[in-house]
Every structure is written in C-alpha cells, then in structure tokens.
C-alpha cells in the first residue's frame, strides 16, 4: 500500500462531480419534474431508500476512518448513529405539536405514561438549532469521554471492540425503558414536519435527500483530507506499530481521541439525517447486531480506502432491500455467507478485487 498525498486526481474529481450532479440535479428532477407514468421517473420510495443508504455510507466512512486507518475496530458505532437520530427525533416529536393522537402539547408516549410535563432534558428541544447542536455534542461528548479513558488505559484490539459492543448494548437496554423518557421500545415516530416543511411532501423528501448527498460528499472530502495529511500517516503508523511511533516522540492518545470523536460525530449527523427520511427511531438501532453490520459494510467494500466502505454500504444495503422483499427469511443467512466469503476470498474487499482485475489487464 502506498500512501497518497494529494486529495484527488483529475479522475477522482470528475467522478465526484458526476456523483454530485446525479444527487443534486438528476435525481430531484427525475423525481419531482418527470411524471410518474414516465419510465424514467424515480419514485419517492426510491429517493428515500437512496437517502437512507447515503446515511449508511457516511457511517461506513466513519468506521473506515478509525478501523481502516487507525486500526481501532468499533462494534458500537450504531450507538452514535442512534444518538444523533434521537437528538433529531426529539425535535421532530416537538414539531408534531398538538396534532398527535391525544392532541396534547406533550409527545404521545408521555401522555400515555401520564406525565404532566416535559422532563428537564427535553428543554430546548423545540428549537432546530438546539437539536442540531445536540446531534453533534451528544455523540461527540460520549465518544470523547469513553475514548479518553479507553485509550489512556491503552485498551486495544478485541478488548476495545468488546467494550464498545457492551456500551451500545447497555444504551439499548436504557433506551428500552419507558422511564428513560425517550419513548421506550416504540421510540419516536409519526413525525409531521421539519423546520416548517411537511415531511409527507415529496419536495421535503427530495430536499432531505439532497442534504444527505451534500453531507456525504463533504464527509468524504474531510476524511480524504485527513488520511492524506501527515495526521493520516501518523494514524497508519499507530495501526501498524504503535510502540515504535511512541519512540519517535508521538503520543498516540490525542491522535486516537481526535479521530474517534470525529468518527462518532459523523455517525451522529448521519443518524440525524436518517430519522426524518425513515420516519422512525427506536432502540433497535442500538442493537449489537446493527453495529456489527456496519463493520461488515467496511469489510465488504475494502477497509482503508474510504471509497470502498462507501460502496460496501451501498452494496450490502441495496442487496438487503431487495433480499428482504424477495426472500425475507434468508437475508441473515446471506449476510453471514457474505461476510465469510469476503473474509476468505476477498480480504481487501470489492476495491481489492477491482485493483486485482485492473492489474491483470494492464
């Protein structure tokens, strides 16, 4: 593996420009301006599905940043994604106003629990800017504090992975409880509007889709900048030979903590974009299985390449949405087979295979 020092070559920028044009112009036009009888029309369902997959792609980027480049495997990234989603969900719940089933100013589940007023930690949740702040701060702070103690104690490898898995599991149990004040096992749903726009309106959906696309591109460029900077080379050195790097006078703690926290924040924002498009957030997003699936996306695409995990997320989730319709009972078997197959025959993932094919025809 040779490390690259420039952001992108001509080809890379062209691909990126093409992708941006597709997301920002082509899809919105085909969805909104082309009538549904036309074969070129893209349905609202497809737009939502693609938006959802792009949220997952950001999560895959985030996990690649820490797993592929810093060698830290997190099996709890679903937690940061869900926390970002919950922070946005709180705002969306408040925006329902009195249109809920009980016509109360309180969210329905609180009426159901016979609560008379909002708990203190819901203060400010009716402001979008405050929700946006929480989306960044909650996953970021949790990751920072957790990471500080874990990295300071030099917890590494499989031990770190297990602790992150336990962390997301603990949070799932916490969020399942009605007393926690986040809707228990039903979570949040029945959202009506976001910053004044009705969520049922196709234009709002397309807007969210475009926002997600823009965020994905920005996240890709940010990650790319980081891994091509000297910081990225230090990260790779931490992954390959941490003690040697310490002899060179580096303290890995700050490097790990920075990239770990950034990764969590990216997941949080992805979660916040995911919730209004999917229309629901519940503790199921924090289940250990979800977080493991995230790692599978990165492995399938090819870790340590950024673009690979992004494609991995698209491939696995594309297959998932088709499979769960065509053969619903076999999806998990297929996912398991996919992981085993990739580990055995494609250790460098889809990107690795593409490179091999390219090298053969050269």
């Amino acid at each position: 593996m040779t490390t690259i020092t420039k952001l992108y070559g001509v080809k890379g920028w062209l691909t990126l420009a093409l992708f941006s044009a597709g997301v920002m112009i082509l899809v919105p036009v085909l969805n909104l301006a082309v009538s549904s009888s036309n074969p070129l029309h893209i349905s609202d369902y497809s737009v939502s599905l693609m938006g959802k997959i792009m949220c997952y792609a950001v999560v895959a980027l985030a996990i690649d940043l820490i797993w592929g480049y810093a060698g830290i495997l997190s099996l709890g990234h679903g937690l940061f994604f869900a926390l970002g989603g919950y922070a946005m969900g709180m705002y969306l719940m408040r925006m329902i106003g009195t249109e809920g089933q009980y016509h109360s100013h309180l969210p329905d589940f609180m009426v159901f629990l016979d609560w008379k007023e909002l708990p203190w930690y819901w203060t400010g949740s009716d402001h979008f800017w405050f929700a946006a702040l929480l989306v960044v701060l909650v996953p970021g702070l949790l990751a920072f504090v957790f990471g500080y103690f874990a990295f300071r104690s030099r917890i590494k490898g499989v031990y770190f992975s297990i602790i992150t898995q336990a962390l997301t599991f603990a949070f799932m149990l916490l969020f399942f409880r009605n007393e926690t004040g986040f809707g228990g096992n039903n979570g949040f749903t029945d959202f009506k509007r976001i910053i004044g726009f009705a969520l049922a309106d196709p234009a709002t959906k397309t807007g969210l889709f475009m926002a997600t696309g823009l965020f994905l591109i920005m996240a890709l460029l940010l990650c790319r900048y980081i891994v091509t900077s000297k910081f990225g080379r230090v990260l790779a050195a931490i992954r390959d030979h941490e003690s040697r790097l310490m002899f060179c006078g580096y303290n890995p703690l700050g490097y790990k903590l920075f990239v770990w926290t950034l990764s969590a924040v990216l997941c949080g924002i992805a979660g916040a974009l995911y919730v209004p498009q999917v229309g629901i957030i519940n503790p199921g997003e924090m289940s250990p299985g979800n977080s493991i699936e995230i790692a599978i996306w990165a492995a399938v695409g090819g870790r340590g390449t950024l673009i690979g995990p992004l494609m991995g997320a698209a491939i696995v989730n594309g297959a998932k949405s088709w499979f769960t319709v065509a053969f619903p009972e076999y999806w998990l078997y297929f996912l398991g087979l996919l992981f085993v197959g990739v580990t055995l025959y494609m250790p460098a993932g889809v990107v690795g295979v593409a490179q091999q094919v390219k090298a053969r025809f050269k």
């Binding site: 593996m1 980081i226 900077s229 080379r233 790779a236 002899f247 060179c248 303290n251 700050g254 920075f258």
Partner: protein, 276 residues
C-alpha cells in the same frame, strides 16, 4: 549572571558547568567535553551481577565501540542509559546536568538519547521518505500534524539523510520491501532525523551481508564527529573498521579500553574474549 556573549566569544574561563551560559531547559550541557558519564554503576538480577561497578565516559562527538562476550553486560548498560533499567548504585549523567537515573524512558528519549534495537523496526506500509518524515524532530501534536506541510528546509533535511543512508533512489518505495540491511540503515536514518545527542546502536550489522556491513561502516565513519555514537557489536572486523576507541566489557565491568591494536594485544582480553 553577568556573563555576556562577548565573554563567551573571547573564550574566558568560567567556573560554572555550562561555561556561564544559561542552558535552555532540556539542553544537554557538553561544555566539559563528555556527553555521557557512567560511574560505579551496578545492576543485579536475582543475585546475578549484570553490571559491577562500571565506569565509562563518552566524549561529545566520539564513536565508541563496546565489545565483550555474551553476558558481559552490554545490553544492560544500554538499558541503564535509556532508563529501561534502574541501577542499584552508581551515577549516570548525560552531559553535566542530566541525571539519567532520575528520568523516565520517554524523558530520556526526549532529551536526545536515540537507541536502535537489534531487530529493525520501521513502518513497513509507509514509504522510506515517510518513515523519515514521521521520525523528524518537529512539533508532534495533533493539530500541527493535521495542517503540516513540509518546508523546503525540512524536505532537504530528509533528502540529506536519504543520501547519507544511501536510500535516495528508494525514497518512494514501501519500507517493507527493503532488504534487511537497508531497513537497518533506514532505522539509523530515522534516529538521525530525531537529532539525537547520543546514538546507541545495538549490533547494527547483525544479519548483514559483507557488502552491507562495509556500507554500514562507511555510514558510521561519516557520522563520527557529528554525532556521539556508542556501538555494541560482536563482529570484530566491523569494529576494527570503525573504531577509534574500543571498550571491552567482562562480567559487568570494563576490562580494557584503548585503540583496537592495544585491546587486541592486551593479555587479559585475549584470555577472556578473543580466546586462545
């Protein structure tokens, strides 16, 4: 203190250690000549005396070879200098002012004691150039690394070192693809990038071909005078080709010290080490 730059330039006599000049924090004071003093160092492991009242002085800019049979205490001595092992008794000073027995391993490394272990360890997935870049003495905190750009001066320093370790044509090659000897040179290069005051090399030519050994001797001869270097080595031909002064260790203390000829003709050395 009333000492002025003028006084210094005129070379007046100063009674204080640093010649009257105020030392920057962390600066190694070599104004009296020696960069390393070991005096009466003893270390024992479970009753076995690895070092027994060892005295050793290395002058600034000197290239010193340490030889001795297995178990003579060569590696333990390196461990004491780098802070890995604490001596039971004795004093160890870097320059006039730094008490090595009081400092931790990273602190000693930070002061400018660079150590190369026997087994080469370089970053195999990084290029040769990047290995040197990572090792270079610079601000190594997170934010600086995020926005770091190599200045022209830094780039030329890396290129100088590449030329010195004879890897200029391999600058963009992954370090993992280098031959064993080249990895050793790269590691010496990485140590040099850290601008060490004192360089400790533990068997630098172990496992090298004759040709590589020769090139390594050339390299060390080039470094002598510019850096203070201590080499621990078994290979007598190699020691002969670089050594100005040789110290022979035996059972944890200095048996003989002098030029290669003197040492080779010393009766006690012949008895314990060169063998008859």
């Amino acid at each position: 203190m009333n000492t002025t730059t003028e006084d210094l330039q005129q070379g007046r006599d100063f009674s204080t250690a640093s010649g009257g000049r105020i030392l920057a924090p962390g600066e190694v004071d070599v104004s009296h000549g020696p960069i390393l003093y070991l005096e009466g160092i003893s270390v024992s492991f479970d009753g076995f005396k690895a070092l027994n009242n060892l005295d050793l002085t290395i002058e600034s800019g000197e290239l010193r070879c340490i030889i001795g049979p297995n178990g003579a205490g060569k590696t333990t001595m390196m461990d004491v200098i780098t802070g890995k092992t604490r001596p039971d008794s004795g004093t160890a000073f870097l320059g006039q002012t730094m008490d090595l027995t009081m400092l931790s391993e990273p602190e000693i490394a930070h002061l400018g004691v660079g150590r190369k272990f026997q087994k080469p360890s370089v970053f195999e997935n990084h290029t040769v150039f990047e290995n040197l870049e990572l090792a270079m003495k610079t601000d190594k905190r997170v934010w600086r690394s995020l926005f770091a750009r190599l200045s022209g001066e830094e780039r030329s320093r890396i290129e100088e070192t590449l030329a010195l370790i004879k890897l200029s044509d391999k600058a963009n090659m992954s370090a993992g693809l280098l031959a064993h000897g080249q990895k050793q040179w790269l590691e010496i290069g990485m140590l040099l990038m850290q601008e060490p005051k004192l360089l400790l090399l533990d068997e630098p030519v172990a496992g090298m071909t004759d040709f590589e050994t020769e090139r390594t001797a050339e390299l060390l001869n080039e470094l002598a005078g510019r850096h203070s270097i201590v080499v621990v080595e078994h290979d007598m031909d190699f020691v002969g080709s670089i050594a100005r002064t040789v110290t022979v260790l035996h059972e944890g203390s200095v048996l003989a010290e002098g030029s290669m000829d003197q040492v080779q003709n010393d009766e006690r050395v012949i008895e314990v080490y060169l063998g008859r």
